[in-house]
Symmetry: D2
Subunit: 350 residues, 4 copies
């Protein structure tokens, strides 16, 4: 490091993912925010839309020119919508920049799968191959030194961290997996629609996109990779009246008489040395607020003797471990820094 | 009716179930609240604890003497805790009163099952046999003229109304049922504990009593009765940051290639003439706020071709269809009145 | 009445005021909803946007033709935006209909004042004169038999009911009035803007339109009418993270050594026979949830000896007493029915 | 610093103030948490009650022995209830420790005033004199090198930072000050009472302790000190359904024709070099969420020409600038470190 900070830019700074990136980068000891970019609002102050950053981000928003950007910064975070990243990221890579992409555009290895679920044209196959899927606790070792990291989705992060150790150990039947996922409202972003209207979702709970969510192929691709065979899941998403937080309650048939203690031991071994996954003690369950504002993923278990079914509960903050926090974790891994750099924040409780 | 109203009393008026009973009875054309009873607060105004009833309930709270009560009223609602009803209800019946009990004490036919799950002594077997399980849309015809109705629990009501038509038709595998239930905080009552503290549960989501909730035997007893064989379910309960509302997301293996349209038709036929169950159109899902404050149970479906699994979502207001509203519905059925009397209120939205 | 119901229509049925009108009219013994009108969505089912009314409102939305409407109904509720009512209401009146208007268009007697605050062209002066300001507890006697009632705004209702008795008695200095008003989010309607976005206003509190709210002239007009001299107020509006409810905390200099008991007595006398205003006992304060879903306005007081200042707190449900409920109350008064007809609902608590 | 960290202990670690202190100290570069103390729960893991600190605070809770503590640490934060600190703090000081006290016990210079408002015995007068009132932006220069800092209350912090510049400049009439304060629920602490019950305060707004809050003498003492004459305020406190955040809307009569621009300039000059106070631009108002989780106090203004009244709005996070954050700020000032050390966190938004 010899004292010099790595220079970073954020594209798509006017969304929730963008301002969370700023929160973590502002306190990061080895990185410096050099450019905060919004194509649609270039020249305006970021604080018009986000006054909480008053006197923190004082320069106006920049426009986007990949060549000029490459002269100023080393790494770009693209917190841009699906379909936009697909076109933008190749330009940034060709300009010599490293990219951590927070959209869904580079997560699926099979472009036709992407097009079926996202309804946008897929990036060229070469880029899809090049991209590392940055689920840090699973594929973190592959991130180091890479040019393009595809940051996982929020639901897949909570789901996969909760399922992989048991699936990898062969303890659960891959054909039996049901994921009942619940998310706070910020997961849908800052765009306006009636579902996000306070009077509509406060004191309310909704279910949506049952078995149709675009995060399904990302989950199945990764589970299939771990299981060594295709995996098909049942996946339900719910909207809960809170701003942040994802809880995934997952069900699978156990392939043996494993107890909660067995599972705790298995998971603690699997995640040893990975400080952002915390396995609850037997009989304890994680709650979303216990990871609020932080990069943790907390996990708990119940193995039911009566039915032979395993229940796994995992929680994350969708904007942190499910987006900006994991992106910073990937920056750390990419640059060879300590994984927790700039992320060593306790959850904000209560 | 010849113009005279049936006289009713409420025991346990200082809980949420009690004040909801008052809400519905105050506007009921054939019933009159004659006594509002609280053993612990007798002599005090109800409005000390519930000022929203100022100038509505003006008499002080009464104490409880079954004989005297029998001289004044015809029907008693017991919104008393588990263990209390077990002792109180027989006294009321013996005094010649009709009783609608909102506790769990008379729901299980097998007293030892009750004792295992509730940790209280069970009522005498005769009373357990006498009690009708007042799940109105299923067993409503048996309620008419009965002396003792055991009002179903909130989770069982949402669960059973969602599962019974498909189970009864033999369309789902009884061994495959998983119930992922979510409830607002009022379900835990007005008693204080840290879980109910606003700062702890606001902007939070918790999971609790996984496979251990005392409503499980009530669900399994009824499903077993419908299926004609013992049924064991996986049952998870979650606490969601809202005051009212239950959503049950239920999963089961389909025994044939049934489509959503088939299910909608099956359920609409099953519930024909039952105005409080509403089956959503294909592709639409119910939300808890769409039944807020009302006696409706709304249901939606997804049948997944890929996995052969059925997803059923049912919602109720836990304090209405899950407690006081269904109790009034049972009063109506018991007395031979129109099922909707005093309950014809639209949901309060937004 | 001779058994026949008065036929009513609602224009602007796709807003929150509209569906609240439906809630109260559905249970109203003397009124029948004959037409539910939305110019923009004519022909579509109302339940597309408001599924909570499934199986309750089954006919599709009607378009609007004043002549045809006059052939079918007796009274029209116009829950239309400011500027729209100004043009529509005269047409309805000319077609022979009675109108209860929920917009701000007919509240100000001085058209130029209207234009200054609302930025729309005012209705013709004749209509402004004809309109009765339907603050039911104050001007209710003038409503009977009228053709056009202008239903008060939500903030003015809470403010005026809280201030008028003390002002009318000459107990407070009209020049000293400060109104610190707080509202739930539904007051801003169903239209989308960033302020209503759940993630923005949940766990947040905002202040807006300080001394600039369009309800100010309506408050000052009425206070001036009561005081017999012009009154200028300081008026601050806040947005609170809840769906329903307005609380107005009001400050004024006392003109004598009046105690809380004096005030309670004054107010109870003033509102005698007016069942929807409830004055709290000494030392008790009203909370917004204690009127949730109901037509009540609850009021409490503190008289501070140290400063000679009076603090008045009044609460209403902005969509009920502040909109649809008071409109039904005005229908009752207009038709000569009991004031509480169809409104005798306890607050929904908790 | 020569590399060695200052050793600190927290007494009263099982409240919200305590865990917020841990949040800031865990990331503080010059301080190290050596002991986490709870008299009532000594020996138990802190994470039993606060699982969000799993794998962060792993040692069990310590008991309290001032002599032994003095051998281990340099500075103690006492986040103990009023009445407890009064007795404890003198013992800690006598053992040679520096103390930052978060209770109200050392804020009032006049012990009899303390006893009148707090209903506890006051600490000895010598300790009251010795204590510096740590309102950092106003009295920060006096904190350096002191042994005992009395950390201000949450309401006083928001109130005083909002009023002092205008009062100090003689622009407002001290006799005219009205403070309409609103707070999130965490301000009442973790103790259970019905007011904190989620079902009671969600979707609700309450007013309490009107002109009777124990923070009033602290506000009046400081305003009197600034004004050079006794100041009496009208002070209303409200409970708002959110976890964190205080908004004070304050009213005062202007003594001249000052504009919003004048006020902005005055305040920005007054707080120059004080990074935690942010003055909003003309026409912009702060919202509580814009300081959530951070140590900022944001302020906005409206000067009303019609009434000559000034409206000031100030917001803080009650647990941060109103408690733990300001305590850390006082630690920094006490030790001669940069004021922002360990506090340079952006608000958590949304």
């Amino acid at each position: 490091m010899n004292g010099e900070k790595v220079k970073v830019a954020i594209v798509g700074s006017t969304g929730y993912g963008g301002v969370e990136l700023i929160r973590f980068l502002w306190g990061h000891p080895h990185a410096e925010i050099v450019s905060v970019i919004s194509v649609s609002s270039a020249g305006e102050p970021l604080t018009d839309g986000f006054p909480h950053l008053s006197e923190i981000i004082v320069q106006p928003l920049d426009g986007l020119n990949p060549e000029e950007l490459a002269a100023k910064v080393d790494v770009v975070f693209t917190a841009t919508p699906s379909g936009v990243s697909a076109k933008l990221v190749p330009q940034l890579l060709e300009a010599g920049l490293k990219v951590i992409d927070l959209s869904g555009d580079f997560r699926l290895k099979d472009g036709s799968e992407y097009e079926a679920w996202y309804k946008h044209e897929a990036p060229a196959a070469g880029f899809l191959e090049e991209a590392v899927y940055g689920l840090a606790e699973i594929y973190g070792d592959e991130v180091k030194g890479k040019e393009l990291v595809s940051n996982p989705g929020c639901y897949p992060t909570a789901t996969l961290l909760g399922l992989i150790p048991a699936l990898s150990a062969g303890w659960i039947d891959p054909a039996s997996i049901i994921i009942d996922a619940k998310s706070g409202v910020s997961g849908a972003g800052r765009g306006m629609n009636l579902t996000n209207h306070y009077a509509e979702i406060n004191e309310n709970m909704k279910v949506y996109k049952v078995n149709k969510h675009q995060h399904i192929p990302e989950i199945e691709q990764t589970l299939g990779h771990i299981a060594g065979e295709p995996v098909t899941v049942t996946f339900t998403t719910h909207l809960v009246p809170m701003t942040r937080g994802i809880m995934c309650t997952m069900y699978a048939q156990l392939k043996g008489a494993y107890t909660e203690e067995d599972l705790i031991q298995l998971y603690r071994q699997y995640y040893e040395g990975r400080p952002f996954v915390r396995i609850r003690d037997n009989g304890k369950w994680p709650a979303t607020k216990e990871v609020f504002g932080s990069n943790y993923c907390d996990i708990g278990f119940a193995a039911d003797e009566r039915t032979g079914r395993l229940t796994i509960v995992s929680v994350i903050d969708n904007l942190v471990k499910g987006a900006a926090g994991q992106a910073i974790q990937n920056l750390n891994l990419m640059m060879g820094w300590e994984e927790t750099t700039g992320l060593k924040l306790t959850p904000v409780y209560p």
